[in-house]
Point group: C2
Chain length 467, copies 2
């Protein structure tokens, strides 16, 4: 028995001599699942295929029956056998793009389509070839030491974080680490965590799922209003001091000191979300708040912005007094970041490929922001950009009398998804709340960024003109 040809389909079935039924079954499944035999394709009659393959007719008939029972094939007496629509249907690789807007400018998203996958793949190959066998076992709960060491050096160099390898804890993403820290705090008796009143709704849900109450902390033109923490009775505050998300303002130096003082007085912690600390365009970013009080600040960063979310890696620098509790949560929660990727990222950082990725993205984001600024100046001069020249998004202040919703709707009619500041707001804003539209210019792929921004500015101009 060698190869057989399915009549009319011109497909080769390599059959094992000893187990023809099993290998025929596997081969048909494989042809269907790869799409080589599409939905609706007719299979040859069992008798004909059996003759072609040199096996007993019953062997083929049994295989057809089994695959029919499993839903791969459909059969009707007299009508033959064909490939069923499920479960072997060729599905798209990812959730249907039809569900996504044509142009996505929502805040907090990052386009990963220009991820340097070839460099990552080359480093992965090398890391895999060089690693000792034991590296492929379970990674330690804090993460592999090679990565913690690379990160300690990188974070000290680029963000002024005061840290060594023993302070670093690796996670699968910012949310994963936020959840770990919150659960550790809850088990120590914490009840409330303050979080900036503008931000990702998901972060508030993570706090709540850890069994803590999330309470909003006011944000103004100087960043989070940290004086208000005195009255919130919170065990910790989650904040974005380098570049408030999404209003874009940095926390002032006075407030940086004040929040650390509060943490000391209240025996509380600051959870510093440094989501885009590396992406300041105009000059080197102000260093991490963590350096002011390494015993009071949990520093949190991610590889999602500089590389890609699909890398699935983030890091926390945790005060020594909290470390054991956070690691206990890591073990009790069961999740951990893929060990192989941890080694690859360590290599990426050590060879400065990570620095290059940051520089490249920073230049790209900068030019997008400049384009948006120029387009607004030309077509909607009464609107203005708010906040630092940094990061992946900015806040556009609208002309007087133009409502967020008018712009959001006008953009939607142009196929552009964008959100008003109200969408990022935690709780009621009240009358005096600032308004604006958050433009996540980091979200569209390079080839679509210009058009997305043009259409957005057209929407602003239209809304400003009362239409």
């Amino acid at each position: 028995m060698g190869e057989g040809l399915i009549a009319g389909l011109d497909l080769h079935l390599p059959l094992s001599g000893t187990r023809p039924a099993r290998s025929l079954e596997d081969a048909i499944r494989s042809l269907v699942s790869t799409g080589a035999m599409p939905v609706g394709a007719r299979l040859p009659a069992a008798r004909a295929l059996a003759a072609d393959l040199g096996v007993a007719r019953n062997t083929v008939a049994d295989v057809y029956a089994r695959l029919t029972a499993e839903g791969w094939l459909e059969a009707r007496v007299g009508a033959g056998t064909w490939v069923a629509a499920s479960p072997g249907t060729a599905l798209p690789l990812e959730t249907s793009p039809a569900a996504a807007p044509t142009f996505d400018l929502r805040g907090g998203l990052v386009d990963a389509s220009d991820f340097e996958y070839a460099a990552w793949g080359a480093h992965a190959r090398q890391a895999l070839a060089e690693l000792p066998g034991a590296s492929f076992s379970y990674p330690p709960p804090e993460g592999v030491v090679a990565l913690r060491r690379s990160l300690a050096v990188y974070l000290a160099r680029t963000r002024g974080v005061a840290t060594g390898p023993d302070d670093v804890v690796i996670g699968t993403g910012f949310g994963d680490l936020l959840s770990l820290v919150c659960r550790a705090l809850r088990d120590r008796g914490a009840r409330r965590v303050a979080i900036e009143e503008y931000g990702h709704e998901r972060h508030r849900r993570i706090i709540a799922a850890a069994g803590l109450e999330a309470v909003p902390l006011r944000v103004d033109a100087d960043g989070a209003v940290v004086d208000a923490l005195e009255r919130l009775d919170a065990a910790a505050v989650v904040m974005t001091p380098a570049h408030q998300f999404p209003t874009g303002v940095p926390l002032t130096a006075t407030r940086r000191r004040a929040v650390v003082d509060w943490a000391r007085r209240a025996d509380a912690l600051v959870l510093e979300d440094d989501y885009d600390g590396e992406f300041r365009y105009d000059r080197r970013s102000i260093g991490a708040l963590q350096a002011l009080a390494p015993d009071r600040v949990v520093y949190l960063g991610t590889a999602s912005k500089a590389l890609a979310p699909a890398v699935g890696l983030a890091w926390a620098v945790v005060p020594a007094a909290l470390r054991a509790d956070v690691l206990a949560q890591r073990e009790a929660g069961g999740a951990s970041a893929a060990g192989i990727h941890q080694f690859v990222l360590a290599r990426f950082i050590d060879t400065f490929a990570y620095d290059r990725a940051v520089r490249r993205r920073r230049a790209e984001f900068r030019s997008r922001r400049e384009l948006l600024e120029a387009l607004l100046a030309d077509h909607a001069p009464a609107a203005s950009l708010h906040g630092l020249a940094a990061g992946l998004q900015c806040l556009v202040r609208l002309p007087a009398g133009v409502a967020e919703k008018e712009v959001v709707d006008a953009a939607a009619r142009r196929g552009v998804a964008v959100q008003g500041l109200v969408e990022y707001r935690f709780g009621d804003g009240g009358q005096g709340s600032p308004t604006g539209v958050v433009v996540g210019y980091g979200a569209p792929p390079p080839a679509r960024a210009r058009r997305a921004l043009e259409l957005f500015v057209e929407a602003v101009a239209t809304a400003a003109a009362g239409g």
Copy 2:
């Protein structure tokens, strides 16, 4: 300014013309962190290096001072500057092997040193090159559809699981998914989860950390005593029906039906831990329990045994009624498995590389078990293997009058780590509890497996001889 040579070290420092201090600093860090400049290596005097590089003496002196402050270098007046022992020391890639026993035969571990890293790397490169850009973004909480589809086909084919892509949820490991399901049950009002009285202590901790009480379910020679579930008032039971861990017995057909009947009557769930279902040596494994009641059984599997724990991937097949709750926990918990690895595993499965990996390991494990059996027959004939010829470990029943601890201690004296059944036990065993030593023959790397088993059998023989 071009390249400079550090005198005596013969190392090139590529310097940027515009920021010589920054690039010198980075270059030295890089040389230290890669080990190119080892601990204790002397740096040239600042004056000499400045002359070599064509930069101001102060530039070099400032860089030395900064790196000394960061702990990379050490300096003493008059004695010069050298590479410090921390934080730039070349650390071992992983936790020190000195901490590990010479030969590790503990149950539940898997040697990953023969992981087919080259094949994985090649598939990774191809997957990275072929994936559309959007694939590098955040994976959906349930996992990428490509992998869910591959797994649905694979699990139906190899384990008889009744499933489609929409039932599969991807996680970073078994513990991650167990935690998700337990948290979902807790939020539905569950209070207690039963778990086999022999197993991993970590699984019980995961249940407890999810806010549930773990209660032990008795295990006998027919597997878990499922009749006892009637009295335990549990919302779910965690069990290993294919091959009880670590006693090695399969659940009888009668009990398979009985546990499903219990789940229906009690409106409860069975969490089927199919940790080594693919590794039955003697014949094709009995299919997953899940197929008896897909609406009542959560099926759980992992890539850790067939590939490597460092891949960081596992899967659950979740009843439709529980799916939304499990995914809500996934989002609220923050963690998710690396998207890139999900695509790579899908390719691995679709090209049958996963099947090949299973077959190869199965043959390796089988020969190890046969070796252990032969060694015991020759040197300690009163001891015997218990349970199925399957998986990564077995239970060795000891000769009458030989205590677990005697064998464990005799093994430890020979550098072999092994654990008595009591170490896997949940709660008090009482008088009639079975005894034995669990031999995780899947744990040592191939080159050390024979010696590990020989030393273990020597320990049994010595203990049996009364010394």
